[in-house]
Structures are given as structure tokens and as C-alpha cells.
């Protein structure tokens, strides 16, 4: 296959950046999208040009590192991660535009690499159950109905990629935050801290510069892990009830 790529190149955070066109003519349909970038980068290197920087690690759709906006869609045409997208999803002769995630809270570091540490800070605000190592009961002393365990698992599969933010016109992080809030709120172990947790995480999300959620559903449509928007409804319920009966208030 022959493919024309228009790729966002930006030297560093200060640089303005812009799209640069590349042609590659030895693309195999079995290649993953990132393997096509590997091939392009080898070509660039041999020509003495700097290869295109992009984040990736597992290439199995689970680490959440890869993050390209492909033809305007985070992770491209399929509801999967960029690394799990294969060239057989494109046609010979296609032109593909590749850009980084765009959001105030995710500033560009270089080319397609952005800074997503805001997500880590949201988790640090309360995305955990406060239990020290070794201070536990036997695991089977906390029976959890299978349906609840399964639902908590579904929410827990978020890979923290940030596609939900990139897909949202407000750059809201609600889907990401709600996935963690509802996973822990559903489980008996997480109940004790649930009010404090939701308030602190939402406050941090706002402080990091993510936008408000206006329920467009774009996040769910682009999430590679099918995180459901019902988590947002659950977050809203948790948040409201915690505001009404708060035992913790962020000053």
C-alpha cells in the first residue's frame, strides 16, 4: 500500500508546530499503525532527519501510552487503541492526518507526545482505598456479588489513555474520573471513603484545567475500553449525595 501521512511536528513545548507531509510506499496491511511509524522513522533517520516522537510501550492495547488523533478521531477509525489499529483498516492511496491529543491539561512535549500527568494527580487526590500493606482480613471474608464484581471490573479496565478528553469538545475528564470513582464506590471495601474520594477527585480535575461535562457522549464513543457513560451518572449521584451529607469538604 501507498500512504500519505500528514503528521504534527513540534520541536518542543514552546514551538508552534505544524503538519508535515510524508509519503510511504511500502506499507503492508498486516502492519500495525505504529509499525508504519517505525518504518517511516527508519526512513527519516537514514535521511538524517529526526524521527517522529510518539508515546507507546506495550503495543497490546493495555498500557495506555499510545495516543494519536487519526483523521480527527482519537485512536483512529476503530474503537481501539492506536497500537491495536492495523493498516488493513485503510485503503491504498489514503491520506491520513495524525495529531497529538489536544487539551489544555495535556500540553504537547514534542511532536505527538503530550504530558498526561494531570491524570496521575487526579488519582493521587483519592483514587485509592486507604489500606496499608499487611493490615487486611482474609480475602474471602469480603464476599462480593458476582454482578457487582463484574461491574466494578468493567469500570476498572480504564487504561488512562486520555482519548475521552481528546474526544470531548470541552476536554472534560469525566469519563476517566467516573470510572475510578464508580469502581471503588461499588465495592464494599471502597465505601468508607467514597464521599471524600469523589469530592477530592472532582476538585482536582477542575483545578487541572479539564472542562465541564455537558453529556455529549463523545468520550464513550471513542473510549478504546468501552468505559460506559453510566459511570458519569454514578459519579454525579455520588457527588450530589456527598455534597448533601458531606463529612469532608475541600476548603
Amino acid at each position: 500500500m501507498k500512504i500519505t501521512l500528514k503528521v504534527w511536528r513540534q520541536k518542543n513545548a514552546q514551538d508552534k508546530g505544524g503538519l508535515v507531509t510524508y509519503k510511504i510506499d511500502h506499507v503492508s496491511p498486516d502492519m500495525s499503525f505504529l509499525e508504519m511509524f517505525d518504518v517511516l522513522n527508519e526512513d527519516l533517520l537514514l535521511k538524517g532527519e529526526e524521527p517522529i516522537a510518539f508515546d507507546h510501550d506495550c503495543r497490546e492495547g493495555i498500557c495506555g501510552s499510545c495516543n494519536m488523533v487519526i483523521n480527527g478521531k482519537p485512536h483512529g477509525p476503530l474503537q481501539t487503541t492506536t497500537c491495536q489499529l492495523h493498516m488493513r483498516s485503510f485503503k491504498d492511496g489514503d491520506t491520513i492526518v495524525v495529531e497529538p491529543w489536544r487539551a489544555k491539561a495535556f500540553p504537547v512535549i514534542k511532536d505527538l507526545v503530550v504530558n498526561r500527568t494531570a491524570f496521575d494527580r487526579i488519582i493521587q487526590a483519592g483514587g485509592y482505598i486507604s489500606v496499608n500493606t499487611g493490615v487486611t482480613v482474609d480475602a474471602n471474608e469480603i464476599p462480593i456479588p458476582k454482578d457487582i464484581a463484574d461491574n466494578a471490573f468493567d469500570a476498572a479496565t480504564c487504561i488512562g489513555c486520555g482519548a475521552c478528553v481528546a474526544a470531548c469538545k470541552n476536554a472534560s475528564a469525566m469519563l476517566f474520573v467516573s470510572a475510578k470513582v464508580s469502581q471503588l464506590a461499588m465495592l464494599p471495601q471502597g465505601k468508607a471513603e467514597s464521599k471524600r474520594r469523589v469530592e477530592k477527585m472532582v476538585a482536582t480535575m477542575d483545578a487541572e484545567g479539564f472542562g465541564a461535562c455537558t453529556n455529549t457522549g463523545a468520550c464513550e464513543a471513542e473510549c478504546p475500553k468501552q468505559i460506559s457513560i453510566t459511570n458519569i451518572a454514578m459519579l454525579n449521584r455520588e457527588y450530589l449525595s456527598s455534597k448533601l451529607t458531606s463529612d469532608y469538604v475541600e476548603s
Partner: protein, 637 residues
């Protein structure tokens, strides 16, 4: 120097309990005076950093990804073992211990393995308390599955994403300590040297991957939790960034490297599809619970799998190993797959694949049941190959997956450098010559949650809390060393890319130091590796500068270390004149083609000491003493 494994005295089952009682403690008010560096935030690193911080130490944690949550552990699929005996099927700490020793082909240290089995049950309690959503039965209790190399169901799992859920649990504990100010987290940072002062590890030198800045960090102890080195083969199931650099630099500073040639080749991976291939994808071994492995009986049978009648199929694992069938340990499953392909009975266009067939399971249990168990794995297979495994058998082939070898550690997980520890896949400790499925996650978390917090405290309790400033001459020297390597690499400006060298050496390692080895091949490989390394340092092409994000420079630094490690792996494979576990020497096999272990001569851990650039390394032997198991021929028939 004599190797001292510091195994506590006493009965096997009492060693750890007694040792925990005997270790020196740092008083709670003094813990905050000690700094600990944890390199790596996978299962081993994140759990260690969080647990040590909870105790009150000041922790600095490092990873090269943009977030600790993205460590390679995230990709583990199948599950984690623990001797809970929730299924009442006869499991016990002793059985898990025995299975692990036997699975490792009697090349692991009894005391460490016993401790691992002992603390395994606490891991599950810990993870559930953190909110890890393990699979459950309708009664609300935890569910288990069985895994290769064992006849009980002791594997806990979270669909096909167990590593993800366990890592997110450890990451949440780590995040809590970051918020509490007890852990300072450095992301996008690569450790490039260990600093040793007065014979003790006192810090590290890192490169900030965004700015290129070379930085020193001082501490009272350094824990390397930097994972395995499977990417020495270029193609492996490891994440793209997994590397040996941290362990290798420590090795060059005096930490012995143990059993480097013990690598695990996983039997169920998606076969290579072309030259562009950048990594291989594992299909969890749990699939072997329901999938049946077969090839056509006839050579070169090119019919579609569904057109090959039952009586013309060879279910070779079931045929050769009736007791364990498709659930034989990994090394055996892999070697047999290679064997039938070498005989010309492999399938697919390359002939380098065997079938993993779910037709019977679907007929027996329905597609829905199979989907509930393996849905995400089947989807992943379809995404990558474009074929539907509900209708067609999967095609699989072995691939490099895990490295049993690693930094030599004593019972306390300390390397031969005082104050320098190695945890998780980075050490050599518990899996001998072959690791059983679902035991790496167990080991990483055992080391991090339950072993290091005690043993590191014991070490710190005996040393003064005085800090060493990073302008100390040894830090400056190490920084200069790192800067020197970087500017040398940047100045070469040759004609071949880093990936070119990595692929070339990876192929040599796979062909001659992979699934099977012999003296002739190893000799050839050693020569080739030296040539490739020499050319690398003359002709590698790196574009860009140190002072910004430079993906080629990052890779070059890692490949440079892989090139040196590869040679040591070859030396180790050469010197071990026996076959055991994942190490199969063509010259040493039984008439039936099984591994021929030689306990009289080789029941030892090979620990290699670095002696200088381009000099042969010194071999030290830690004799393995088996008092609680009888050395037996490993049989799964």
C-alpha cells in the same frame, strides 16, 4: 569474593518467621531520616515503594514511562498464584513450593521459594483490600483457574487483565503515598548508573528523558525493580521499552548477574507476520485450559484446518504427556511445538505455527461460556490477525517472554553490592530454569509488599542516617561516565540505525541462544555478537541532541547494554553443559528428546562477576542444597 546466600537456619517452614523476628528494626521516629531509591514502578517497584513509604521511610521512585501505571506489568494477562486452597483441591504452601521447585527444574533456592509460597496468600488479601476486582463465583467468593505445571486450581485472575488490575492496585497505593508526600515520583527518567561509596550503594544517576538533564540522587539504599531483559532478542512479548540497562550498569559496578541464559519461551504467541514486526503478542496460557494443541499428522499438509479429519490430526501434547496434556509447563510445550515445526508439520504460510483449537470447548460449553472466559483474548487475536478464532483454530508459536536470570540476590534480596537490592523479574531468585505460569506476578508482589520492607529495614538499622550530598566526588564521577557514553554515541554519526543493530543481534540470539542451543552455534554467535557490537560503536546513526526528548538516543543506550548482555548469556549457556528447564542444549538430551539434567555437576546458580571491558567474566557458583525435596527427573507424562 565468596557468595553468601544468608539463608536463615532452622526448618524450612520456620525460616521466614524466625528471620522476620530476628531482623533489626528501625524505630518509627527514625525511619523518616532514611531515604530509599526505588527504580521501577511495576508490580515489584510500586508495591515496594508504597509499603516502605507507609512504614515511614522517604522514598524516591523512578520510571521511564510517563506514568507509573504504565509499567510492563500492566500487560500480564492470565493470573496470579496463591496457596489459598479455596477450592479444597489439596493445595497447600508446601505444594506450591514443590510445584515451583519442580517446575524450575531444580535450579532454584529452596528457602526463597518456600517463603514465596508462604506469603502468596497475603498477596491476595492485600489486593482484595485495595479493591482489585478479581473474578468471583455467584456466591460472591473468589474464583480460581488452573495453569500449566500444576494439578490444582490456585490461580486468581481478573478476566484476561490480571496484571493490569494488580498494577493499578499497587499504583493506587503508590499514589496515596505520593499524595502523602512520602514518595517523590520521577517519571520519564532513566537510571543510567549506580553510585557506590565506601563499598555501599548510595545513589543513582538518571537522565531526564524530556530535557536530557543528567541528575544525581542520593539515598541509603537502592532497590532495582526494573523488570526483565527479554528484549535482548528484539522480538519478544515484552513492552517496547523493557530493557536491561539498570541491571547491567549495576552489574558493571559489582552486582553479580545470575543464570543469564535462563530465558522463558512462551508457547502461545501470535506468529510473526513480516519484517515490519516490532513485537510479539502473547495469547495467555490460560487458553490451554480449553484449547487443544495440534498439527496435521502428515508433513506439508496444506489443507484448511476444518478440512483435516480428526484421525489425521496429531494432538501431540495430549499424546506425549497424557497426565498433563495441553497443560505441560511452558518449556516443554514450546520445545514440542518447535519440534513438530522442524519436522515440517507446522501450519500457516511460514510453517512456523501450530493450531490451538477451541472447537471442542465451544461444542461442550457453548460459545457464550468460552467468550466469558477468554473474550478479550479472542478479540485481540482477531484484531491482530484478521481471523475469527471462534470459527478457525488460532495459530500460535513460541516467543521469548520472561527471563528467569537476573541480578544475583541473597535471601534478603540484596545483590553482591551492599545496600543494592533487586526485586521482581530483575532478580534471578525464585523460578530456577523455568517459571510456572502466574508466578511472576506473585513473586513481584511478594518481593515488594512482604519481603523487602523487612529486609531493607534490617540493613538500614545497622547504618547511620547521615546523608551524602550529590556533589560528592563519586556522584560527579558517575555523572561524567554517563555523559561520556552519551556524547560518544552522539558523535558516531554512522550509517545504520539502532533498530538495525537490535534486529541483527536479536536474530543471532534467537537462532543460537534461543529455544535450543549447542556449542557450535554458541561459538558462532559469540563471534557475531562481538562483530555487531564493534560495528555498532563505529557505525550507529543517531540524529538529534541530548538536551531534548530523543527517542533514538534512548534506544541506543539500551541496545548498547543488550549487546554486552547477549555475550554473557552465550557464555553462560556454553558453560552449562546440561539441559534444564528453558535451557536446552542439543548435546544433552535423553533418547526421547527430553532435557537431560546433570545434578552432579550443575546443581548450582551461575553468578557472573564483571571484570572489565572486553574481559571474560568470572564465574562464581552457589551450590544448591535440596533438603526438603528429592531431586527427581521432571516428568509430566
Amino acid at each position: 569474593m565468596k557468595l553468601d546466600s544468608k539463608i536463615p537456619d532452622g526448618q524450612l517452614a520456620e525460616k521466614w518467621g524466625k528471620h522476620k523476628f530476628n531482623v533489626k528494626l528501625v524505630n518509627p521516629a527514625n525511619k523518616r531520616k532514611y531515604d530509599i531509591i526505588v527504580v521501577g514502578t511495576g508490580l515489584a517497584g510500586a508495591s515496594a515503594a508504597a509499603s516502605l513509604a507507609e512504614l515511614g521511610y522517604n522514598v524516591k521512585a523512578f520510571c521511564f514511562q510517563d506514568s507509573p501505571r504504565r509499567a510492563h506489568s500492566i500487560a500480564a494477562q492470565g493470573g496470579i498464584n496463591a496457596a489459598k486452597n479455596y477450592q479444597n483441591d489439596g493445595d497447600s504452601v508446601h505444594r506450591l513450593f514443590y510445584d515451583t521447585i519442580k517446575g524450575g527444574d531444580f535450579r532454584a533456592r529452596e528457602s526463597n521459594v518456600y517463603r514465596l509460597a508462604e506469603v502468596s496468600t497475603s498477596i491476595i488479601d492485600q489486593c482484595v483490600a485495595q479493591g482489585v476486582p478479581f473474578a468471583r463465583e455467584y456466591g460472591g467468593l473468589l474464583s480460581n483457574r488452573s495453569f500449566g505445571g500444576s494439578q490444582v486450581s490456585r490461580t486468581f485472575y481478573a478476566r484476561g487483565q490480571t496484571g493490569q488490575q494488580l498494577l493499578l492496585g499497587a499504583y493506587s497505593a503508590l499514589s496515596r503515598q505520593i499524595a502523602a508526600g512520602k514518595v517523590e515520583m520521577f517519571t520519564r527518567s532513566e537510571m543510567l548508573d549506580v553510585v557506590i561509596i565506601d563499598g555501599k550503594a548510595r545513589g543513582i544517576v538518571t537522565r531526564n528523558l524530556v530535557t536530557g538533564k543528567i541528575e544525581s540522587h542520593s539515598a541509603h539504599a537502592v532497590l532495582l525493580c526494573t523488570g526483565g531483559y527479554g528484549n535482548v532478542f528484539f522480538l519478544s512479548t515484552n513492552a517496547m521499552g523493557s530493557n536491561v540497562t539498570a541491571a547491567w550498569r549495576a552489574h558493571k559496578r559489582g552486582a553479580f548477574f545470575a543464570n543469564p541464559c535462563f530465558t522463558q519461551i512462551h508457547p502461545t504467541c501470535i506468529p510473526v507476520s513480516g519484517d515490519h514486526q516490532s513485537k510479539l503478542t502473547l495469547m495467555s496460557e490460560s487458553l490451554r485450559n480449553d484449547g487443544r494443541v495440534w498439527v496435521p499428522k502428515a508433513k506439508g499438509d496444506k489443507r484448511k484446518p476444518q478440512d483435516i479429519p480428526e484421525e489425521e490430526r496429531d494432538y501431540f501434547l495430549e499424546r506425549k504427556y497424557p497426565a498433563f496434556g495441553n497443560l505441560v509447563p511452558r518449556d516443554i510445550a514450546s520445545r514440542n511445538a518447535k519440534q513438530v515445526c522442524d519436522e515440517g508439520r507446522g501450519v500457516g504460510t511460514s510453517g512456523l505455527a501450530v493450531y490451538l483449537d477451541f472447537a471442542d470447548a465451544i461444542k461442550r460449553d457453548s460459545q457464550k461460556v468460552v467468550e466469558a472466559k477468554y473474550g478479550n483474548l479472542f478479540d485481540m487475536y482477531q484484531q491482530i490477525t484478521g481471523e475469527n478464532p471462534y470459527q478457525m483454530p488460532m495459530r500460535i508459536y513460541p516467543a521469548v517472554h520472561y527471563t528467569m536470570g537476573g541480578l544475583w540476590v541473597d535471601y534478603n534480596l540484596m545483590t553482591t553490592v551492599p545496600g543494592l537490592y533487586a526485586l521482581g523479574e530483575a532478580n534471578f531468585s525464585d523460578h530456577g530454569a523455568n517459571r510456572l505460569g502466574a508466578s511472576a506476578l506473585m513473586q513481584g508482589l511478594a518481593d515488594g509488599y512482604f519481603v523487602a520492607p523487612y529486609t531493607v529495614g534490617d540493613y538500614l538499622a545497622a547504618m547511620p542516617a547521615t546523608k551524602i550530598p550529590t556533589d560528592h566526588a563519586e556522584f560527579k564521577k558517575a555523572e561524567e561516565n554517563v555523559k561520556g557514553i552519551i556524547s560518544k554515541l552522539l558523535s558516531i554519526n554512522g550509517t545504520k540505525t539502532v533498530d538495525h543493530f537490535h534486529k541483527e543481534m536479536g536474530k543471532i540470539m534467537w537462532d543460537y541462544c534461543g529455544m535450543s542451543r549447542d556449542a557450535k552455534g554458541l561459538t558462532f554467535a559469540k563471534k557475531r555478537m562481538q562483530e555487531i557490537r564493534e560495528e555498532f560503536w563505529k557505525n550507529v546513526k543517531i540524529v538529534g541532541v541530548n538536551e531534548e526528548l530523543n527517542i533514538t538516543l534512548e534506544k541506543a543506550l539500551r541496545v548498547a547494554d543488550f549487546l554486552e548482555l547477549g555475550e554473557l548469556m552465550i557464555d553462560d549457556a556454553m558453560s552449562r553443559e546440561e539441559s534444564c528447564g528453558g535451557h536446552f542444549r542439543e548435546e544433552y538430551q535423553t533418547p526421547e528428546g527430553e532435557a537431560d539434567r546433570n545434578d552432579d555437576k550443575f546443581a548450582y546458580v551461575a553468578a557472573w562477576e564483571y571484570t572489565g571491558d572486553n574481559k571474560p567474566e568470572n564465574l562464581h557458583k552457589e551450590e544448591l542444597v535440596f533438603e526438603n525435596v528429592k531431586l527427581s527427573k521432571r516428568s509430566y507424562k
